[in-house]
């Protein structure tokens, strides 16, 4: 009896500690800029199985946090309690935007769409422009997908731009930092 009461108190204390630490954080957004004078609406994709080095941070991140949504895009859970209103898309960006796997971004398109991304892979510098912002198709964002589940129309068009929640040229890329209040 005494033992179970003790366990109950520990559980309550743990729940309280977790809730406090989450609410003590707040999200800040740093605008990183986007390339100008080009149409960045083309959005390429790659299969998550293309990351094969099991000891790489990319592989570990994708396999630890990634899951495939019903359209075949790889996603990671968003922190709803910290103001992230949707789940993250697993994406690859040029090194201009950062190379730390797990970095989170809020991306706005010129059609008014907002989506959240988390860096799960990096584009090689030789595959990007001299500022390392975009690749050969003027694509800033590359989505990591499960091609077995990917929507056939997206696959046929070769671009995730046809999928309305991701539609439009990239107008803003902001890095999300969680800082203590």
């Amino acid at each position: 009896m005494k033992h179970s009461i003790k366990l109950l108190f520990i559980t309550i204390a743990l729940i309280f500690a977790t809730a406090t630490s989450a609410s003590a954080l707040t999200a800040t957004y740093t605008d990183l800029g986007v390339p100008t004078g080009i149409n960045t609406s083309f959005k390429t994709y790659m299969d998550y199985r293309c990351v094969t080095n099991t000891s790489s941070p990319q592989y570990r991140y994708i396999h630890k946090w990634g899951w495939s949504d019903h359209q075949g895009f790889m996603r990671a859970n968003g922190e709803r309690d910290l103001g992230i209103t949707d789940d993250y898309y697993l994406i690859a960006l040029g090194s201009y935007y950062g190379t730390t796997i797990g970095t989170k971004y809020r991306i706005t398109t010129d059609t008014g769409r907002i989506f959240y991304g988390v860096l799960a892979d990096c584009k090689a510098d030789i595959h990007t422009n001299w500022t390392n912002q975009y690749s050969f198709h003027n694509d800033v964002v590359e989505f990591i997908v499960d091609t077995n589940r990917l929507n056939r129309s997206v696959m046929r068009m070769g671009s995730a731009n046809v999928y309305m929640p991701l539609n439009g040229s990239i107008a803003k890329v902001e890095r999300i930092n969680f800082i203590e209040r």
């Binding site: 010129d110 059609t111 008014g112 769409r113 129309s153 731009n161 046809v162 999928y163 309305m164």
Partner: protein, 50 residues
């Protein structure tokens, strides 16, 4: 492929890809395959009022 079959396919795809309801309505009224393409391209280029 007949116009009706094309329209049905376009509407199915548009629904899957979360195109707005007004686009679906326009697709239903499309007169030829050129119309279908134009409606979908217009929808992609149009700004969204959220």
């Amino acid at each position: 492929m007949s116009l009706n079959t094309e329209k049905k396919y376009a509407i199915k795809v548009a629904k899957e890809l979360h195109y707005p309801k007004d686009v679906i309505e326009k697709l239903k009224k499309a007169k030829n395959d050129f119309d279908i393409s134009r409606i979908l391209i217009d929808a992609r280029n149009k700004g969204v009022t959220v």
